[in-house]
C-alpha cells in the first residue's frame, strides 16, 4: 500500500491522544442535544430544528475564535489560484482568519488587471481589504520578492497541483522561517475502492501531482498539513456546482444524470473548509504532519443532490438517467461531478482537531438558490447542447 506511512502513523498516535481533547467530546454532546428534537420528528430531514443546527455551529466557531484571541495571533500567507473550484477557499479562509484577529496576505496568481479578477471571489476582494488583509498579485515562484521579504508564521498553498508549481513556495517558506505549511490537495488522488469512504491513509494514485507535493512536504517541512477537498458550494464560488442543477430545474428541463444516480459524492459548504483550515492554524500541534479530508460529514447521491436542489427551488425535478457511452457524450463535459462513487469522510479533522461539519444541504441550497435568483441567473438564456444530445438519444421530450 503506497501510503504516506508517517501520516498514517501520526493519525493513529494522534487519534489516541486527541480522544482526550474536550473539544471533540463537546461537539459530540452538542449533537446529542440536537438529536432529541430530531428523534421526535417523524417527518423528513427538513425538521424545524435545522435553524438550531445552523446556530450551533456558528457559536462553536465563535468559541474557537474567542480561544484564538487569547492565544497566539498568526501572520498567514495564502497563495491562491486565480480560477477554478478551489479559488473560493482562500477567500473564506482569509476572512475567517481576519475575523479571528490574525493577519492575512493573499497572493493571487497572475495580474490584478486580468479578466479573471472580474469573477467571484476576486471581484469581492475589497471584503478582505476592508477587514484588514493585504492583497497582492504575481507568480508564486517569485513569492519571496512579491511579499517584499516579509516573514509569515503560516503559508497556505491553495494553487499548485504539482511539485513544479508548489516547490518554490515550499522552499521559500522553509528558508524564510515559516513554521507551518498548509497545502490544498485533492480527494481526487485516492485510488478507487470497493470499500468507501476514502479515509486519510488510504492508498493514493502514486503518479498524481498532489501526491508528489505531499511527499515533498513530508520530507522537507517540519510542520505541514495537507487538505483534500471535494466539491464546494458557497457564495463567491468561481466554479458552478449547484447552479448546474438550478439551471435546468428553473427552466423545467429534465436533469440528465449519468449512470444510476446512486453515485455518492461530497458537496461541502466552503465555510467548513475554512473552519478546518483555521483550526489547523490555531492548533498547529494537533495538525502537525497530517492529512485531512476537507469535506463535510455527509455524502449525497447524485439523484439526491438533484432532488435537494429542486426542493430548495420549490419546483419539481425530472431526473433522467443515461449511459454516456451509449449516447456518445463525454460524461466529464456533460455533467459536473464524477460518474462514480467519490466519497471521502473527514475523520482525521474530527479526531485530531475536534472539528465539526456545519454543512446541511437542505438549508444551504436554499440560500444558494436565493442568490441564484437575486443575480438573475434564472432569467439568463443558456444553451443546453449536450443535454439536448442526450435527451434526443433517449427520446425524452423537452419543453420549448
Amino acid at each position: 500500500m503506497a501510503t504516506l506511512s508517517s501520516s498514517s502513523a501520526s493519525l493513529l498516535f494522534s487519534a489516541s491522544s486527541s480522544n482526550l481533547f474536550p473539544l471533540s467530546h463537546s461537539s459530540t454532546s452538542s449533537r446529542l442535544s440536537f438529536s432529541s428534537s430530531l428523534h421526535s420528528s417523524s417527518a423528513s430531514l427538513f425538521s424545524a430544528s435545522s435553524p438550531t443546527f445552523l446556530a450551533y455551529p456558528s457559536s462553536s466557531s465563535r468559541l474557537s475564535s474567542i480561544s484564538a484571541s487569547a492565544a497566539e495571533k498568526k501572520k498567514v500567507l495564502i497563495v491562491n489560484t486565480n480560477s477554478g473550484g478551489h479559488a473560493v477557499i482562500g477567500f473564506y479562509f482569509a476572512k475567517e482568519l481576519l475575523g479571528s484577529g490574525h493577519s492575512v496576505t493573499i497572493l493571487t496568481v497572475g495580474e490584478e488587471s486580468s479578466d479573471k479578477m472580474k469573477k467571484p471571489p476576486f471581484n469581492r476582494f475589497s471584503e478582505i481589504v476592508s477587514a484588514g488583509g493585504s492583497t497582492v498579485w504575481g507568480n508564486p515562484a517569485d513569492v519571496g520578492s512579491i511579499v517584499g521579504g516579509e516573514v509569515f508564521d503560516v503559508v497556505l498553498d491553495n494553487n499548485g497541483k504539482d511539485l513544479e508549481t508548489v516547490r518554490p513556495v515550499i522552499d521559500w517558506a522553509k528558508s524564510s522561517g515559516a513554521k507551518q505549511f498548509l497545502f490544498i490537495s485533492s480527494a481526487g488522488i485516492y485510488k478507487t475502492t470497493d470499500e468507501p469512504p476514502h479515509v486519510e491513509g488510504d492508498t493514493v494514485k502514486a503518479d498524481a501531482g498532489h501526491v508528489a507535493v505531499e511527499k515533498y512536504l513530508e520530507e522537507s517541512f517540519s510542520n505541514w498539513a495537507s487538505f483534500r477537498p471535494q466539491y464546494m458550494i458557497g457564495s463567491g464560488n468561481n466554479k458552478d456546482c449547484e447552479e448546474w442543477f438550478f439551471d435546468r430545474i428553473v427552466r423545467d428541463r429534465p436533469v440528465p444524470i449519468p449512470g444510476s444516480g446512486l453515485q455518492l459524492t461530497n458537496i461541502t459548504h466552503v465555510r467548513d473548509l475554512s473552519s478546518m483550515l483555521t483550526l489547523a492554524v490555531e492548533k498547529p500541534e494537533a495538525a502537525r504532519n497530517s492529512i485531512f479530508n476537507c469535506v463535510s460529514n455527509r455524502a449525497v447521491t447524485l439523484d439526491g443532490m438533484a432532488k435537494l436542489c429542486a426542493k430548495a427551488a420549490g419546483r419539481p425535478v425530472n431526473i433522467v438517467h443515461y449511459d454516456p457511452k451509449a449516447v456518445g457524450v463525454d460524461a466529464k463535459k456533460a455533467f459536473p461531478f464524477r460518474n462514480m462513487h467519490f466519497y471521502a469522510e473527514p475523520r482525521a479533522a474530527q479526531t485530531k482537531l475536534g472539528w465539526s461539519s456545519t454543512t446541511y444541504l437542505p438549508e444551504d441550497l436554499k440560500e444558494r438558490f436565493e442568490e441564484y435568483v437575486k443575480i438573475g441567473r434564472d432569467k439568463k438564456t443558456i444553451q443546453f447542447e449536450l443535454d439536448d444530445k442526450i435527451l434526443e438519444a433517449l427520446k425524452v421530450p423537452v419543453p420549448v
Binding site: A15, N19, L32, E195, G259, T301
Partner: protein
C-alpha cells in the same frame, strides 16, 4: 411452568485489569486465524483499547435475553471471562451452550460450567416479571427483543437495575439521500423495525439507565442470517453472482465479535448512559465489492458478477439478494470518539474468520437455493 436453574456461585474474580481486545483474542484464541497481512495498525489498537477500556468495577449479575444463537454466544463468553455471573434467558429449544468452532475444550468446559440458564418464554410477561424479580439482576442485555411490550416486564421486575443494554438496529433510520446515518438522524416510525424504536422510547420514558446499540448487517461465524453465506454458496458452486441494479449500492457489515466487544465496552460505562451508538465496520462496501471480498476470504477466484434490473422479475416471496436494494450504512464516529470503540476486523479479515470457522468447515444455516439465480440467469440481461 418453567423451572429455575440453581444459581451457582461464581468464582471470585476481582482482578479485572485487561483490555477487551486481549480478552477477545484469548477467548476466541484458535478461533481467530491470522491473515498473512497482520496490519501494523492492530498492534496500535491493542494499546489504544487497553487505555480506553472503562472496566466494570465489580462482578455483576447479568441477564442476557437470548444468548444461544449468535451475538449472545460471543457476548456471554466475554462477560463470563470478565468474572460476571451470566444467566441466559431462553426457551431451551437450542442447547444452552455449544462449543464454538476453534474453541478449545478447556475454554468451553470453563464457560459451560459457569454459564447459568433461566428457562422461559419471554412472551409470557408474567413469568418474565416474576422470575426476574425473584433473582434480582444488576444488568440486563436484551439481545433478542423486538417489541416494547416485551421489555416492560423486565423493567417492572428490576426497579434497581443498574443498566439495560438493548440491541436495536440501524434499520430504524429514515431512508435519506444524505449519508451515512448518524445517531442524531431522523428515524422512521413506519419502518419494519419500529418495535425497536418503540422500545428505545420506552427506555427513555422509564428513567432506567439504558444504552442502545444499533448494528447494521452483522456477520461472522454462526450467522443465521444468510449474509456472507449467500455469497459463499455461490462461490463454492462456481456460479456467477447476481447483483441487483448497478452493484454500486453501499452497505456495511460489522463482525459479531466486534459487536460483542462493543456490548461489553458499554457495560458500567458512564459515557454510554442513556445513549445510542451505531456499531458496525470501519468502512462501508459496495455490493460488487462485497462479492469480491467474500471471494478473497474463501480463497475463490474473482467472481463473475451479473447485474439485473429487479423490476424485470417477480420472485414471489423469495429474496433474490440478501441486502436491501439501497444505500444503507451508518457512521460509527460517535462510538469511536465517546467510547474509544475500535473494530478488530476489517472486512476481508472478518469474512475470512467467518469462512474459516463456519462455511469453510462445511457448516451453514440455510441450504443453497439457486432458484432465483436461475430465473435471473435464464432471462436476457437488461443493462442498467
Amino acid at each position: 411452568m418453567a423451572r429455575f436453574v440453581a444459581v451457582t456461585p461464581s468464582q471470585q474474580n476481582n482482578q479485572l485489569s485487561f483490555s477487551p481486545l486481549a480478552s477477545s483474542l484469548s477467548d476466541f484464541s484458535g478461533t481467530k486465524l491470522h491473515c498473512s497481512h497482520i496490519h501494523f495498525k492492530r498492534k496500535q489498537w491493542q494499546t489504544k483499547s487497553a487505555s480506553f477500556y472503562v472496566s466494570a468495577s465489580s462482578n455483576k449479575k447479568i441477564l442476557i435475553m437470548g444468548g444461544t444463537r449468535f451475538i449472545g454466544v460471543f457476548l456471554s463468553r466475554l462477560l463470563v471471562k470478565e468474572g460476571h455471573q451470566v444467566t441466559l434467558f431462553t426457551r431451551g429449544k437450542a442447547p444452552v451452550t455449544q462449543q464454538l468452532p476453534g474453541e478449545s475444550d478447556s475454554d468451553y468446559a470453563d464457560f459451560s460450567s459457569k454459564i447459568l440458564h433461566l428457562k422461559g418464554d419471554r412472551q409470557d410477561f408474567e413469568f418474565v416479571k416474576s422470575s426476574l424479580s425473584a433473582q434480582g439482576f444488576d444488568v440486563v442485555y436484551d439481545i433478542n427483543g423486538r417489541e416494547a411490550v416485551e421489555v416492560e416486564p423486565i423493567l417492572d421486575a428490576l426497579p434497581n437495575m443498574e443498566q439495560f443494554i438493548y440491541c436495536s438496529s440501524a434499520g430504524v433510520y429514515l431512508k435519506s439521500d444524505l449519508l451515512p446515518h448518524a445517531e442524531v438522524d431522523a428515524v422512521d416510525p413506519k419502518s419494519r423495525h419500529k418495535g425497536k424504536l418503540e422500545t428505545e422510547s420506552l427506555l427513555q420514558s422509564r428513567g432506567v439507565n439504558w444504552t442502545s446499540i444499533r448494528p447494521v448487517y452483522i456477520y461472522g461465524p454462526l450467522n443465521y442470517n444468510p449474509v456472507e453465506e449467500w455469497f459463499f454458496h455461490r462461490l463454492k458452486a462456481g456460479r456467477p453472482i447476481p447483483i441487483p441494479s448497478s452493484g454500486l449500492q453501499i452497505t456495511q457489515l460489522g463482525h459479531v465479535k466486534d459487536l460483542a466487544r462493543a456490548f461489553v465496552q458499554v457495560l458500567g460505562n458512564d459515557k454510554a448512559s442513556k445513549a445510542i451508538f451505531n456499531i458496525s465496520g470501519e468502512k462501508y462496501v459496495t455490493f460488487d465489492g462485497l462479492a469480491r471480498a467474500c471471494a478473497k476470504a474463501g480463497g475463490f477466484p474473482e467472481p463473475e458478477l451479473i447485474h439485473y434490473n429487479p423490476k424485470d422479475y417477480d420472485f414471489g416471496k423469495k429474496k433474490a439478494f440478501p441486502f436491501r436494494d439501497q444505500h444503507f450504512f451508518a457512521s460509527t464516529e460517535k462510538s469511536k470518539s465517546v467510547l474509544g470503540f475500535e473494530n478488530e476486523f476489517d472486512l476481508v479479515e472478518g469474512l475470512t474468520d467467518s469462512y474459516n470457522l463456519d462455511f469453510g468447515r462445511g457448516t451453514y444455516r440455510k441450504e443453497a437455493d439457486f432458484s432465483t439465480d436461475d430465473i435471473i440467469l435464464g432471462k436476457t440481461l437488461v443493462s442498467v
